[in-house]
């Protein structure tokens, strides 16, 4: 990273992710980076964003960043709190949620996500990760999915070691074949740029690079031969308000 501007690559990533959300959306929010980005969005350009967390807090507006998916602040500020079975069966499963906002330990060329194990052998993993949580059904049933993850050859791999959550499977037509109702990942936002599935092949393609980042730097941080759009754009920098909101949330 060679940026010399007065924001970090992580801030660029989070603000870009926040901008993917609009005020009329319902968003199923994962903890960590997705939660930070959604909470920036609701405080800037998307005041109507309807956030739901898998703990059953519907329409929540925490006044600080929740520490976990089930932080008390989420319940206190929610339109309503429902049971965990209800959030999955009545709210996520029928496709009511516009955007699922996920992180990823590993992600591949077709935006399949691994949060289960690193290594080839499930029963004897190199690294045991937390597991699926809500992600498989968020990825399956939201109208679309946005992924936020730091880019490196360790995380962005040719094929994930374990498919925890299906992105575009092995390419075009796979989601339809599997009967998955949502459109799957439509954007992957990293600390270096923005990737989107190619409309015909569904392979992740670099469509935007963050200011100060070169396409070669993104390629070097990708574990496969990264396709690049004909004319990748440069991501718009965070503005003052976005940065101040983000920093007040993260106390940085």
């Amino acid at each position: 990273m060679t940026t010399t501007l007065d924001y970090t690559a992580d801030e660029m990533m989070t603000v870009t992710a926040a901008r993917s959300l609009t005020t009329d959306m319902a968003c199923f929010v994962g903890i960590g980076l997705p939660s930070t980005a959604a909470n920036v969005a609701v405080r800037t350009h998307a005041p109507g964003l309807w956030m739901i967390y898998e703990s059953g807090t519907l329409g929540t507006r925490p006044d600080s960043l929740p520490l976990s998916i089930g932080d008390g602040i989420l319940a206190e500020t929610a339109d309503t709190v429902v049971s965990v079975p209800e959030v999955f069966n009545y709210w996520l499963q029928p496709g009511r949620i516009d955007v699922g906002f996920l992180g990823a330990a590993q992600i591949d060329r077709y935006a399949n996500i691994n949060t289960t194990v690193i290594g080839d052998d499930y029963s004897d993993p190199k690294v045991r990760l937390p597991g699926a949580g809500g992600a498989p059904e968020i990825a399956a049933n939201c109208k679309e999915v946005i992924v936020i993850a730091r880019q490196s050859t360790r995380a962005f791999v040719e094929a994930v070691d374990f498919v925890t959550s299906v992105g575009h499977g092995k390419g075009a037509g796979d989601r339809e074949r599997l009967g998955l109702t949502g459109r799957g990942p439509t954007r992957v936002i990293t600390n270096l740029g923005v990737l989107e599935p190619d409309p015909s092949t569904r392979e992740l393609t670099l469509v935007s690079v963050h200011p100060g980042v070169t396409v070669d730097e993104v390629r070097a941080a990708t574990g496969w031969d990264l396709q690049v759009a004909a004319e990748p754009t440069t991501t718009t920098e965070p503005d003052t308000k976005e940065l101040s909101v983000l920093r007040s949330l993260t106390n940085s």
């Binding site: 079975p85 069966n89 937390p130 699926a132 809500g134 498919v163």
Partner: protein, 273 residues
């Protein structure tokens, strides 16, 4: 029936049982988990959607033979090191795992609570989870011909949950994020509930779940019984403790020292609590 916690664990939890200490990031029955460790219970099949610090402790203490779960981590901090050590190195005892998604686990409890052998959902399709367990299958809709995912009911021997309050008749009241607590209680053969306090009258609270005493085997008073997690309306989560756990749990000896001083060293305090 209102009992001291140690008696409740002794009477209702046995070696080899399938035990679900639930709490979806809230009202986590930590005090009950520590009492299970103190009593040296073993060979347990532990069930929980979100095994976190207290399950890491129980696994590290060697209580568990198997874990059925959907997300295992130190929430907001990182990984569970005792859980990893058990899976990757079999320390202190090998840990078998059966892994699901949240939607799958939630529906397994729903089926268990409903007295049916399975539940259907739109889930798991296309994931590698399916290949790792026989506990995910498919069924065909008899009306549309559509194929859906099926998961089997889960009916633990014992459910253990923590709640804000119970009355003297053993009715239990909890509120805030109530997770799968109702379902796990209704799905289980026996239920032990720890509570912040036993009161004369349960004043209704918006968003409450009330567990009638008929489905509660025993209640034990355990003020602060969810610490370092939180109890909505009683106390907040100690984030520091979660961060400290990351350090303590990385090292086997550090962990064992913690176990000696913080769990085994507090037997009498817990009894008096």
């Amino acid at each position: 029936m209102i009992v001291p916690l140690d008696e409740g664990i002794r009477e209702f939890v046995h070696d080899g049982d399938t035990v679900a200490l639930e709490g979806f990031t809230h009202l986590i029955p930590v005090a009950a988990g520590h009492e299970i460790i103190r009593q040296g219970l073993g060979d347990l099949t532990l069930v929980r959607m979100t095994p976190d610090v207290v399950y890491d402790q129980m696994i590290g203490a060697g209580c568990a033979r198997k874990l059925i779960f959907s997300w295992g981590g130190n929430p907001g901090v990182g990984s569970l090191h005792r859980f990893r050590d058990a899976i990757q190195n079999g320390w202190p005892v090998p840990l078998e795992i059966e892994e699901h998604s949240h939607a799958g686990m939630a529906n397994r409890y729903v089926a268990g609570a409903s007295g049916v052998p399975f539940a259907i959902l739109r889930g798991y399709t296309g994931t590698d989870l399916i290949a790792q367990t026989s506990q995910i299958a498919t069924v065909t809709c008899p009306f549309t011909g559509e194929e859906l995912t099926a998961v089997p009911a889960i009916n633990p021997d014992v459910a253990i949950v923590h709640a804000q309050r119970a009355d003297r008749a053993g009715n239990v009241q909890l509120w805030g994020i109530t997770g799968v607590q109702k379902e796990v209680v209704l799905a289980s053969r026996r239920t032990l509930v720890t509570v912040e306090e036993v009161v004369d009258h349960l004043e209704p609270v918006p968003g409450q779940v009330l567990l009638p005493s008929r489905v509660v085997t025993a209640v034990a008073e355990a003020p602060g019984g969810s610490r370092p997690s939180y109890a909505h309306g009683y106390y907040a989560r100690s984030n520091q403790a979660y961060q400290d756990w990351d350090t303590i749990s990385r090292d086997r000896e550090e962990f064992q020292r913690w176990l000696r001083t913080e769990v085994h060293g507090t037997t009498h305090t817990a009894r008096e609590g």
